[in-house]
């Protein structure tokens, strides 16, 4: 019996069919990139929180040694990708959308590439907590796109998940990293999936793959067959962008619509990328930290487009040179795919954990955009939106900064896939408007919460001050009243031989003194009596 891919799926609304451009980089097997002389390893933490750097310039490090850690719950460990010396810890440009520098460790490679691995774990005899801790220790984050720390996601999913969805769709044009990985390392992916099932306790696993990669599908089917695990099934979905987006893929495979504003785990489903599954397998079974990944190098400016296994921190320029970059034709370098990726200002930037693709393109391949024109209300954007939003409305609200209305039209559910911008005949950079608006909405929410909280604190402070003032006043009034009373009493006391109370008190005190004196006198008398008696005794025998 051979296992078959299932073709039953729930069709996705909207979507586009851009030219795939995938064949270029799939001609050969995955290449091993050359060992770079200098690596720039980002120590960035999720949310750009502060990293706890564990090494100092001058330290000798091994491949896989911890460079920096973060918050124990959401932090992401960074490791040295090869053995060598830490040259400096400094801010360095990295591929990010802002173009702002991030904290990086610069390592001079010693050419030995000497590993320092953790001991391998036997998953059958290891408890879930240890497995997740291992994934944390190895610094594994989602390799599909967002780069969310895997251990955080897994801890949040414990015993809440019934279905594991493995994302092998890779729907964006040009990118073939997962495709190549499945062709060559399907067995490791399946091992990783097995571990994920073990950890989450999910009852079944659906692997979603687009029907434009038959060789990858066959490799995966073979690995599933070899694994003898009937929890696994592979579902082939039609090629359409963006079927590889998390919520879209879940809909395609399970027919579950994850509600707006909820994460998939709240619907009992966890989504993981094939690359992440493999990294988890290597971390648990081989004790290897995440120090390398498979990245697609493609684009018309490259003589030899390919997929390469590259060390995290390798400068992009070196890797492009290894693919024979033709500088004269290069128009720009893009990190990620052509729909969701972003420009790199120059190529002296390192590969980071989420760099799945580098496109060195030419002007004829991806031309400079035409200037934006007015919206002609054609409605094309609405037809292609996979989330069933109204991109045209969202554009109007974004442009006029009507945040509230944009929110009411669910702008927060926009997955920034860019399908709308792709079809817009007026070349409106729609996604950029949405991104700006979403960021502003998030900020406004934050501000509102802070203001509400501050108001509470301020009101409490006011109350406290008033209460204090009231108490002070009361005390003052009491004291004043007492003083007044005493004065009156003193005045009256001239005639009435001492006030009742005050006089009484004084008398009491006097009595006490008198009593004490009497006691003392009595004691003295007693002692004196004793002494005289003794004297008498002393003198008697002599007399």
């Amino acid at each position: 019996m051979s296992i078959q891919a299932s073709h039953s799926f729930y069709p996705l609304p909207g979507g586009i069919h851009p030219s795939e451009n995938k064949a270029q980089s799939l001609q050969g097997p995955i290449r091993q990139a050359e060992l770079p002389a200098r690596l720039i390893i980002p120590l960035t933490q999720p949310g750009f929180a502060q990293a706890h750097v564990q090494v100092q310039p001058g330290d000798k490090v091994y491949k896989g040694q911890l460079l920096a850690s973060g918050n124990p719950v959401t932090g992401l460990n960074a490791h040295a990708s090869t053995s060598g010396t830490v040259v400096e810890i400094t801010e360095h440009a990295v591929p990010n959308m802002s173009g702002l520098p991030e904290l990086c460790a610069v390592i001079a490679s010693d050419g030995q590439d000497e590993w320092q691995k953790l001991p391998p774990l036997d998953p059958a005899e290891t408890d879930v907590d240890t497995l997740i801790t291992r994934i944390h220790d190895c610094g594994i984050s989602g390799l599909g796109g967002a780069g969310f720390p895997s251990h955080t996601k897994l801890r949040g999913a414990l015993s809440k998940v019934h279905t594991l969805v493995i994302n092998a769709a890779e729907c964006e044009p040009f990118i073939t990293a997962d495709h190549a990985l499945m062709r060559e390392h399907a067995d490791e992916i399946i091992k990783g999936i097995w571990l994920l099932l073990q950890i989450t306790g999910a009852g079944k696993c659906l692997i979603g793959i687009e029907d434009n990669k038959p060789d990858a599908r066959d490799a995966m089917l073979k690995a599933i067959e070899d694994a003898f695990d009937d929890r696994l099934s592979l579902v082939e979905v039609p090629t359409k962008y963006p079927s590889g987006a998390e919520k879209q893929l879940i809909w395609l495979l399970t027919g579950t619509e994850v509600p707006s504003g909820k994460i998939t785990i709240q619907s009992g489903i966890m989504c993981q990328n094939v690359g992440t599954a493999r990294a988890i397998a290597r971390a648990v079974l081989h004790g290897e930290a995440l120090v390398s990944r498979i990245t697609t190098f493609t684009g018309a400016a490259l003589e030899h487009p390919c997929n390469m296994e590259v060390l995290i921190g390798t400068p992009v320029a070196e890797l492009l040179a290894q693919c024979d970059l033709d500088e004269s034709r290069l128009s720009r370098v893009i990190s990620g795919g052509p729909l969701m990726g972003f420009h790199l200002p120059h190529a002296d930037l390192p590969i980071v954990k989420i760099t799945n693709c580098i496109i060195a393109t030419t002007e004829s391949e991806l031309p400079t955009p035409a200037p934006q024109q007015a919206c002609i209300r054609c409605g094309f954007c609405t037809d292609v939106c996979p989330v069933n939003l109204l991109p045209q409305q969202l554009f109007w609200f974004s442009r006029s900064k009507e945040l509230e209305k944009a929110e009411q039209h669910n702008i927060m559910d926009c997955i920034e896939c860019g399908a709308c911008a792709y079809v817009c005949p007026s070349h409106i950079p729609l996604v950029q408007y949405y991104r700006a608006t979403k960021a502003e909405l998030r900020e406004a929410k934050e501000k509102e919460l802070k203001a509400e909280y501050s108001k509470k604190r301020f009101d409490f402070h006011q109350q406290r001050m008033e209460e204090q003032k009231r108490q002070d006043e009361q005390r003052r009034a009491e004291r004043a009243a007492l003083a007044k009373k005493r004065k009156q009493e003193a005045a009256a006391g001239g005639e009435q031989a001492g006030g009742e109370q005050a006089g009484g008190e004084q008398k009491e005190a006097k009595d006490a003194i008198k009593a004490a004196l009497e006691r003392v006198n009595a004691k003295k008398a007693a002692r004196a009596a004793k002494a005289s008696q003794q004297e008498q005794n002393d003198t008697e025998p002599g007399s």
């Binding site: 851009p18 030219s19 949310g47 750009f48 990010n96 959308m97 802002s98 702002l100 991030e102 044009p173 893009i334 990620g336 795919g337 052509p338 729909l339 969701m340 990726g341 972003f342 420009h343 391949e365 991806l366 031309p367 400079t368 955009p369 035409a370 200037p371 934006q372 974004s398 442009r399 900064k401 945040l403 860019g418 911008a421 792709y422 079809v423 817009c424 070349h427 950079p429 996604v431 950029q432 408007y433 991104r435 700006a436 608006t437 960021a439 502003e440 900020e443 406004a444 501000k447 802070k450 203001a451 509400e452 909280y453 501050s454 108001k455 604190r457 301020f458 409490f460 402070h461 406290r464």
Partner: protein
């Protein structure tokens, strides 16, 4: 005589509704001025006094009385827009006389220089400073509104106002500006021309 029927009907109606309204005015009486509360809810509650009023609520009262809506620098453009929306007036640019919009800051006490005078505690409108006489003080960052009021009273000048977030945390996408030549359009906008 027929004319009297409608006259009496209307008279009775007038009396009934008058009584109803009179009752409603008593029974559903709202304490305070509700518009002031609504305005106050839109202000950032920094309590910094940069608007020239001793706190956010007094400023809200002045707005309710018809005062200008563009005097709050911490709230900035978005607060002005929200106020304009609420009051149905045209938004105006921020009045620079009262300060300019800046990233949110929090107070930071250089603790080894603190002499424990408690002066900053007394200045803080939201009780965000912790400490006691002759002991080191510190700011509870999550409570601090960044109002700046504790900086002035400190006799040894050991309080700094530092940005709440680092530049990376503060960065976000801006709307494309069609007038600028080198807008950084996202790649999507190139891709569609390719096919």
């Amino acid at each position: 005589m027929e004319i009297l029927t409608p006259v009496f009907t209307l008279l009775i109606l007038a009396v009934v509704f008058g009584a109803l309204l009179g009752y409603a005015a008593k029974a559903f009486r709202v304490e305070g001025n509700p518009i002031v509360d609504e305005i106050n809810a839109l202000l950032p509650q920094t309590q910094c006094g940069q608007c020239g009023h001793p706190g956010c609520r007094p400023y809200a009262e002045s707005i309710a009385a018809g005062g200008p809506i563009n005097k709050c620098p911490p709230g900035g453009e978005s607060t002005i827009a929200a106020l304009a929306n609420l009051l149905d007036v045209e938004p105006e640019p921020l009045d620079a006389e009262h300060g300019v919009e800046d990233v949110r800051k929090v107070a930071y006490i250089r603790e080894d220089e603190c002499i424990g005078c408690t002066k900053c505690i007394q200045a803080c409108p939201v009780d965000a400073i912790l400490g006691s006489a002759k002991h080191m003080h510190t700011v509870i960052t999550s409570e601090c509104t960044g109002c700046d009021l504790c900086v002035e009273p400190c006799p040894v000048d050991c309080i700094d106002m530092i940005p709440e977030k680092n530049p990376l945390q503060n960065w976000h996408w801006q709307r494309p500006d069609p007038r600028l030549q080198n807008v950084q359009l996202i790649v999507t906008d190139q891709m569609r021309k390719a096919s």
